[in-house]
Symmetry: C2
Subunit: 214 residues, 2 copies
C-alpha cells in the first residue's frame, strides 16, 4: 500500500495497536479485504472514524472494495516500528517478569527477548520462557555488548531509578516500565508506562457510588 | 477539604491516579502541605496545569499556603472511589495472576481480593499471595454469594469472552482486563483494559527509525 509519509498525531498512534490487533485477527482468519463499515462494527467505531484515522497516514480504502487487510496491517505495522528489529531484555524475573516473558505480544516478529536479569541467586542461571536469567551486576555490560534496544522494567519500586540510571547511557532506546514510578531519563530514551494501579483506580472511579451520583 | 460536587471530565479523571500516587508519597514522608509549584515540579507539570486540574473538582489551594496533602489525597481518593469497599477476585492463577495478587496497588484499603480462580487441578486448593485458588466451575456461584464487585481477568484470550459471559449477570460492576481482546459486556459492567501489547507497540513506534525520520 502506498502510504504518504505524513507525520501522524500521537492520538492516532495510540489507536493504531488496536487496528493492528484486529487486522492480525482478520489476516489469520484469511480475510483478504475489509470495508471501513465492517471494521468499524468490529471495533465499536463508526466507518467515518475509521476512514479519518487511516487517512491520517495516507491509507485510503478503495470505493466499493474497502481495504486490503494484509497491506493495511503492514502499513500500520511500519508506523508502529514493527518492521524493524529490536533486542530486548526483561529486568526482574519475579512473577511479573515471568508473565511478560510468556506474554503473546512479545512473540512478535522483530522483537527479540534475549535475556532476563535478577538479583536473586536462586533464579540466576535458570531459564524462564526460554530466556536465560542473568545476574543484575552484568546488566550494563550485556546491554552495551548485545546492543539492547528495549528494557522491560519489572522490579520493585525502591530499586527502579537506580537501575535505570545504570543503563540509560549504554545505548538503550526505550523502556517499557511496569513500576508505578515516574522514571527520570534523558531525552534520547523513551519510556512507556504500564501502570496497573492507575488502571485499577480508573475502574474503581467508574463503578463507584461517587461516579453514579454525579 | 470542601470540594464542590462537580462532574469531572474523563481527561482529568485519567490524571487523578498520578496525583493520588504523588500525594500518597508526600503523606508517607510526612509532608503536610504542598504548593502547586512544588507539586508541578515533582510531576513534570506547570503550576497552572495543577491548579486547573484540581479546580475541576473544586479543590482550591490557599494563597501562600498551597494544598493540605492529606485532605487533597482524600478528596481525590473519594473521586477515584477509594473511600468505598470492593470485593475482588482474580480469574487466572498463571504468572500474571500471581503477579497481580502480589502487586502493591492491590493492597489499597477498600480493595479486598478474596479469591483466585483457575482451571488447573494442580493450582486449585493452593494459596497464592494469601488468596485461596478455587476451581473455575464454582466462579458464578462464588461471585453471586460473596457479592463480588471487581473481576481481574488474566486468562488466555481463547477463553476470555466465554468466562465473561458467565459472570456479567452475577452482580459484578467492573472488569480489569489483562487479555488483549475487546470484551463485550452489558452497559452496567465497566471494563478497564491493561493492554501490555498496545503499550509495547507505542514504545516501538516512539523509538523506531520510522518515527525518527518523520
Amino acid at each position: 500500500m502506498e502510504t504518504e509519509k505524513k507525520r501522524v498525531s500521537m492520538a492516532v498512534i495510540k489507536r493504531l495497536p488496536k487496528y493492528y490487533r484486529y487486522l492480525s485477527d482478520l489476516e489469520s482468519r484469511e480475510n483478504e479485504k475489509i470495508s471501513s463499515q465492517s471494521l468499524g462494527n468490529m471495533m465499536g467505531l463508526t466507518a467515518s472514524q475509521i476512514r479519518q484515522d487511516l487517512n491520517a497516514f495516507g491509507a485510503y480504502g478503495q470505493q466499493g472494495y474497502g481495504y486490503n487487510v494484509s497491506e493495511l496491517k503492514e502499513a500500520i505495522g511500519e508506523i508502529l516500528g514493527l518492521s524493524e528489529e529490536y533486542n530486548c531484555v526483561i529486568i526482574g524475573a519475579g512473577n511479573l517478569g515471568h508473565a511478560i516473558a510468556n506474554y503473546e505480544g512479545f512473540r512478535q516478529k522483530g522483537i527479540h527477548v534475549i535475556a532476563m536479569f535478577d538479583n536473586d541467586d536462586k533464579k540466576i542461571g535458570r531459564k524462564i520462557g526460554g530466556h536465560p536469567v542473568m545476574g543484575i551486576e552484568v546488566l550494563e555490560d550485556f546491554i552495551a555488548e548485545k546492543a539492547v534496544d528495549i528494557c522491560v522494567l519489572a522490579i520493585p519500586r525502591e530499586n527502579a531509578q537506580e537501575v535505570v540510571n545504570r543503563i540509560v547511557d549504554k545505548g538503550i532506546r526505550g523502556i517499557l516500565n511496569f513500576v508505578p514510578y515516574d522514571l527520570h531519563v534523558p531525552d534520547n530514551v523513551k519510556v512507556e508506562d504500564v501502570n496497573i494501579t492507575d488502571s485499577l483506580f480508573t475502574l474503581t472511579h467508574l463503578i463507584s457510588d461517587y461516579n453514579q451520583s454525579h
